[in-house]
């Protein structure tokens, strides 16, 4: 395998990992907003919705 190919494969893997990390981070922020769990050590992970 040529060096160019290796660099290309590394770059592709790097981009995929970056995308997965960013996607996971976004989903966690959305989940935090829905459930009020900003940080387990910072606040309690409890919420209450009066719908009425």
């Amino acid at each position: 395998m040529t060096t160019v190919k290796k660099i290309l494969i590394f770059f592709c893997v790097f981009v995929v990992v970056l995308n997965a990390d960013e996607a996971q981070a976004i989903m966690k922020k959305v989940d935090n907003n829905m459930r009020g769990k900003k940080c387990l050590s910072e606040v309690k992970d409890e919420y209450y919705i009066p719908w009425a």
Binding site: A23, N33, K44, E46, Y47, I49, W51
Partner: protein
């Protein structure tokens, strides 16, 4: 919550308590005929208490995709309301301004019912604007639309949800959240089976 089906509309009011990602309790307040019906979800299992017959009923796994209280959300949505982050693997499909489109596919180990979910997220508030749910064959099954983002303390949440099953014109469920209190002390008593009857009144 308003449920519209074939031109007929009915409205319900309820309260929800939740802690962590595996425990929630729902109490129906309105209409009078449904008042006091309670639901408890613990670790993806679900029970219902019906005051008229004074019975606690366990919702069997085969009923988890059935409509919850006649609405377009399912028992599974109530029981597994917080498992999306744990059970699905997210991938960014597109970024357009503040909106990120994500594809969520089930993890191999996850026992979930959807083939995939495409979620649109507003990164200004980190709230969903739209979720499209697909079955195992890649067919659209239902669409959630969210509006009226409000800030409750330090958290943002959409306060209007519209759930529309695909292919059932004129049928939809609207949910309006009037208030949310985050990070308050909730008694552990709400998450015991005895709560179903105790907090029904």
């Amino acid at each position: 919550m308003s449920i519209t089906s074939r031109g007929h509309k009915r409205t319900m009011k309820m309260e929800t308590w939740s802690t962590g990602n595996k425990k929630s309790f729902v109490k129906t307040l309105y209409p009078p005929k449904d008042k006091g019906i309670t639901f408890l979800s613990l670790n993806n299992q679900m029970w219902q208490y019906v005051p008229k017959i004074e019975r606690i009923i366990k919702i069997p796994p085969s009923m988890m995709l059935q409509k919850w209280m006649g609405s377009d959300i399912t028992n599974d949505d109530i029981a597994k309301q917080s498992s999306i982050v744990d059970d699905y693997k997210p991938k960014i499909l597109k970024k357009s301004g503040n909106i990120v489109t994500m594809q969520l596919t089930p993890k191999a180990s996850a026992a979930v019912v959807w083939g995939k979910i495409v979620s649109h997220i507003d990164t200004r508030t980190y709230t969903n604007t739209k979720d499209i749910f697909y079955d195992d064959e890649g067919k659209e099954v239902r669409i959630f639309t969210y509006k009226n983002i409000k800030k409750f303390g330090k958290y943002y949440a959409p306060t209007y949800w519209r759930v529309a099953p695909v292919g059932k014109k004129g049928s939809y469920t609207e949910i309006v959240i009037e208030n949310i209190q985050y990070d308050i002390d909730i008694s552990g008593d709400y998450f015991k089976k005895s709560a179903l009857k105790r907090f029904s009144r």
